[in-house]
Amino acid sequence: MEQKIQGVTAGSFKQAEERERLGAFGKLLRWRLYPGLFHWLFYIALAILVYFAFAPGQRGEGNLATEVVWRLWWPLLPFALLLGGRIWCGVCPFGGAADAAARLAGKRPAPPSLFRKAGPWLGASSVFAFGISFLALGLEADSGATGIILIAMTLFAVFLSLAYRGRTFCRYLCPVGMITRVYSFFSWTRPEGSGNRGEVKSCPVGLSTVSLRQPSQCHLCGGCTDARTPGGITTRFTPAGTRKPDIREFGRAEAILSLLLLGLMAADSVRMTSLFARYQQAALPVFGYNYRLAVVAGVTALTGMVLAVQLLITRLGAWRQEVTPAFAGASFALLPLTLGVFLSLALQHLWSGALPSLQTILVESRLIDWSGHMPPANVYFTSLPLKAIQFSMLGAGLFISMKVTGWDFGEKKPADGSRLAGDVRLTGAWPRRAMVLMAAAGFGFLFYLPMSGAC
């Protein structure tokens, strides 16, 4: 009897100690309402947004769906990513719908080999298609297209979960999932295995919650955690740029994705400056006065140029050696810089888009009285506090990128196993540093220019 009491007491103490160790984020994952409560809130939000996307008389800009999705959620995503890693994937309504469909379908077969073998390539392609559509179609001003994307993503997530095991859509096809995955390497919150399997037998994305060797794949869905029993994943605060991925986590597809993101960020940055207007003025006659085609051509050319420069510089750096590790290493080193750019652009979008949009919505809902405002006389403006924050973020990204360039990704090992003395001076960090510094200088120049402000 005494032993039992002692056992219970010791067990309770252990659990209390465990909870204490988890921190706020770990406790959130073990909260019994997580992620269900968030899923329901986002289902309701999704339904409202889809309704407004197709509501009659609602134009793109000023439409609740486009305002919330592109001027609020999208700029807030990189901040959530920096602080909480893939927390959005945990609470995402598409992921929630996929989980619900998987529960409904019961035992399903594993995704076909196409998904498993070409998964990262499919993801990289979906990110590029999504990015180019965002820039060319002007999704932030197109409520109908926004509504179609929301519905299509929900349907894809549900149908793929009905057909195959787990979150197939989220794991292989979701562009947002791919973006959060590569940037989660530099998040301050890192999931890790607790050494205990936890509550579920199989993770929706097929990870081992005991060891969690590929934390960037974890969706933080909380499926393996429970408040009553220790186990599943835990989270740990980690300063950015302290974890080197292995080649299974960051291979060639992820390296290409990192460069595609760099190209897309560069295109988005250019779009905010007068350089874009100048380009369009010159390009429109060439592309038959088709505005969107000229954008597609410009973004593709810019992204292609980034890929070509990276390939050339890596080829030179890893002369007569295996290129893939050097290429992956250089691409990985660019991620913190592009995350800094992502955050800076998000701030610009919040400043020039979200705040005025929120004001318009409040005025039209008659929640505030407004006698009108004067938009800036000039299309492009320079706000010194905003610029200071943007350059700080860019600088932080550059600092971490430069730190990462010093890591050994294995490119010093020639493919044939031999060591070529003449090549040693050409290997190491310099190609990555050159690429990072070039990219930083390019973004520094773009951020120095006045950027557009919306009404």
Partner: protein, 150 residues
């Protein structure tokens, strides 16, 4: 032998990725090529007009509907500078010089009004009817400029 298999596997994937990427670009390009705005007879617009597709559309409408815009008020708050802005036309054209004004290129309200005017014009409404429709729709947005009735 193992090495050979490994290399061909990687090559296949590189090819696959290339096909996927090219397909994505072609799909995106063909998606947009049919629905982009086209106009070969544009006036010589200044650079800022090209900052967005909406802005270009708005200025094209302004160039074609100056006579209507003269009698339509601006609702974005231009009333605060009543000397410079007396109607929606002044948001697109400088009153004094007659050159294109930069204001509307970054103003959602002005561009929205231009799009509506274009739609109402296509629907066959008269200038007076367009004015009435705009007044009804944008009354909530802010104070209108002091614009004469048609």
């Amino acid at each position: 032998m193992k090495e050979t298999i490994k290399i061909s596997f990687y090559k296949r994937h590189a090819l696959f990725s290339f096909i996927i990427l090219i397909s994505a670009v072609i799909i995106a390009a063909s998606l947009v090529s049919g629905c982009g705005s086209t106009a070969e007879n544009d006036p010589a617009f200044p650079e800022f007009v090209y900052r967005s597709e909406e802005s270009l559309k708005g200025y094209r409408i302004a160039a074609a509907s100056q006579d209507i815009m003269e009698f339509v008020p601006c609702y974005c708050g231009c009333k605060q500078d009543a000397e410079k802005y007396r109607s929606l036309k002044d948001c697109f054209y400088d009153r004094k010089t007659g050159a294109f004004d930069e204001h509307a290129a970054s103003c959602t309200t002005c561009l929205d009004e231009a799009m509506d005017i274009d739609q109402f014009k296509k629907d066959g409404l008269t200038t007076a009817q367009i004015r009435e429709k705009i007044d009804t729709k944008y009354a909530e947005r802010g104070e209108p400029t002091d614009t004469p009735l048609p």
